[in-house]
């Protein structure tokens, strides 16, 4: 079948691959690039487990074709650690506040939270809950996820963060 060459930036590195037009971005990330952090949890674009950060937006990668990402700048959970290898405040917050159990929603939840805190650096609990309303979790009941995001917001606001790629 015909394939098309796409070229994009993923976690700061340039990537070029040939893909079928119908190939979904989630499969491209997971199978072509072996970035298996983003997960598939449904087929109707509801669960958010596939969420990545694309061109400054939270995007469900199951609802985007890889060809649409040609020329885009994508950040996945694998690109969240700091330049020195230490955890991003969100990753640390999720651990410190017990914001995960089975871990399946976690990459999507963290990637969404990352963009959310850019939109709203000092959110209320109500705003956090609305902010993650596109991400389902079956294990935690969300309460500790809210605390984790709040932890990260506090940490980010105190310490200036150097982003690896924006």
């Amino acid at each position: 079948m015909a394939k098309r060459l796409i070229s994009l930036t993923v976690n700061g590195s340039k990537v070029e691959r040939e893909v079928e037009d119908r190939r979904l971005l989630i499969h491209f990330l997971r199978e072509d690039l072996r970035l298996t952090g983003a997960h598939v949890g449904c087929e109707t674009s509801h669960c958010g487990a596939c969420t990545v950060d694309m061109d400054g937006k939270s995007v469900k990668s199951c609802t985007v074709f890889a060809v649409q990402a040609d020329g885009s700048n994508i950040r996945t959970i694998e690109g969240m650690a700091q330049a020195d290898g230490s955890l991003h405040p969100l990753q640390e917050g999720f651990r410190m506040q017990h914001g995960l159990q089975c871990g399946f929603c976690t990459p999507g939840m963290i990637m969404r939270s990352y963009r959310f805190l850019q939109e709203n650096p000092n959110p209320t609990e109500e705003e956090i809950r609305m902010g993650i309303s596109g991400n389902l979790c079956r294990c935690t009941g969300y309460q500790n996820i809210v605390k984790a995001i709040r932890y990260a917001a506090d940490k980010i606001n105190q310490i200036p963060m150097k982003e690896a790629a924006e």
Partner: protein, 804 residues
Amino acid sequence: MNSQSVQQRQEKLEGIGCKRKRVEDIRFVQGKGNYVDDFVFPGMVFGDFVRSPYAHARIKKIDKSAALALPGVKAVLTAEDLIPLNLHYMPTLAGDVQAVLAHEKVLFQNQEVAFVIAEDRYIAADAVELVQVEYEELPVLVDPFKAMEPGAPVLREDLKDKTSGAHGPRKHPNHIFTWEAGDKQATDAAFDKAEVTIKELISYQRVHPSPLETCASLASMDKINGELTLYGTFQAPHVVRTVASLIAGIPEHKIRVISPDIGGGFGNKVGVYPGYVMSVVGSIVLGVPVKWTEGRIANLSTTAFARDYHMTGELAATKDGKITGLRAHVIANHGAFDACADPTKFPAGLFSICTGSYDIPVAHVEVDGVYTNKAPGGVAYRCSFRVTEAAYMIERLIDILAQKLNMDPAELRWKNLIQPGQFPYKSALGWEYDSGNYPAAMKKALEAIGYQNLRAEQAQRIADFKAGKTRDLMGIGVSFFTEIVGAGPSKNCDILGIGMFDSCEIRVHPTGAAIARLGTKSQGQGHETTYAQILATETGIPADRITIEEGDTDTAPYGLGTYGSRSTPVGGAACSRAGRKIRQKAQMIAAHLLEVHHDDLEWDVDGFYVKGAPEKRKSMKELAWAAYNNVPPGMEMGLEAVDYYDPPNFTYPFGAYICVTDIDADTGEAKVRRFYALDDCGTRINPMIIEGQIHGGLTEAFGIAMGQIVDYDEAGNVQNASFMDYFLPTAVETPHWETDYTETPSPHHPIGAKGVGESPNVGGVPAFSNALNDAFVKFGGIHTQMPHTAPRIWGYAKELGLAA
């Protein structure tokens, strides 16, 4: 040895009671979990199913030719291909059989009809569309109450000559079993002479556990060595290995089953599904690894559902509110195949816990299981077997009785709670509850929520509503549940004949670190963190020096897996006892090194010291080293222990939950204003993890009570089988949870722990439902069925004349 030093050393260990941060998180927050779909093997191919659009139909013809002609398609398998292998049906855990691929007829919508294997999942999806199946539709049966009518469509033609099943005689072709417990005569007598009785049909709707990761497997048959490696979303990997050996005819030592990281189970991943079998068959046929992953719609509409229990419950009581008897008849809808994952002697699970937390002198329950044209099952969705159904029934019945007696529901409970002095308590249906102080928990809960004030507020709200000053109703739901978990004693609990013990094997390394493997399997419960805490307390080795492994049947000792909250009661007990064996051997080594008798030694957090001479001490670290070079004469080197624990009894966690809900009578919308949950799970290993389990379980209970249902129309078309319609609450709908606890250790458990993961689902659903129903009690409402969606609540309000 001052006490501050003891405390410091205990903190360093991170043992039982510590809010230890989770080991698992380090990989999960970096996206480095290893779930089944993350694995890739060389030459791997993909399989997917052709599924039936009809709920009940004969298969006239299957034409594979167009699919086989598509480049990249490797095989298209149907029942015809499985018959020579005798694999077209597989045994279920409930003594029935289930079609792996539909043979001659289909029995539920989306049933598996053919398995297509292709180079990649895109080609497989295209090939699925190209398989042509001709069906002849048959009349559909979806109402379990109609299943045993004369003239009802006969579903299981494969059983048509069988007048008895695994659990006794069958009274109709669509009948599966009748199971009963208790004393019918004494119970009927109690009802005959009762001053007050109530009777109500309480339905627990069909729902689905819906973990975020769907089911998947990856099978690789190595033809040269005759070895099968099977990765899968298995809550019970060893059971899968044994079942795979029995049905595939491969000797068990040649099968390796691996459950890697699992993205939530909640009971969905206990049973064996056609997808697992077909990935194995595919790999055997093609000689390459075959991966099967399931879509969400398939998951919700074909893997094991939960509940679908229709319980006609009755209570007999004195007019002062002392309960004198309980009676229940249940119609259990198992769908097309009884694929219930229950211990074999319990086709209705542990439903007989339905006398609950109350001292009921006599009881009798009877359950009739039936077949319908729905997905097969059911499983225990975040509960012990049928315990949510039992708890829901008794907690609703108590409220209904309270209403009839014009008594406060908390007061009626208070009057009937089992008292502390009655433990161990023998229930009328045969269970021996291990421990509990119910009144203390009840009192604590009522005080914490400000119960009297809430009732006063509610009375004012009712007056305001009647005066037209408000359109909001208010409900207060009380739930005092006792659940039965930790299956279970092998004398009455087995899965396919294997006793429901569990196991732990520990090996301590020379430098004082250790690895422990267990037969349970975490799907998010944090076992890598908590079992290490138990071992840290028992052995004095710091938790962060202990690796915990589960899920690889080549290395883990045999276990029955994780479901029904059994890991702590059974696995945790094996873990603690194995740890004690390590400590016992270490004590002998210490005695040898310190040149004293082992009775002269005292255990002190992380080592032994000589009684009266505390400076003469050996730490566990030193003893580990010594185990490899300096042991007493006649003793083996090394420091290992194994424990297989057959529990003497189940454990009985309990709790008191109170829910306050406001209802908009004009739209039917309900909003939970407050939810207080007090749990008693005995000894608390990691309070942070316990709290997380409660939050998660309450959220699942909230979903079930307020919106979840897998419904079917008259033609058997499944409704709500996608995340568009199946109600999974987001962070916005999910209430804030207030958690609290009491601690009544289990006397028969080595560390007194009872298990807690499922309590919130067991106790939560009745709390939400009782709150909803309570809002209408003073307006003449008695019982409205779940799920309590806005349209249903509005309809109920309208029936009662409260909405137009």
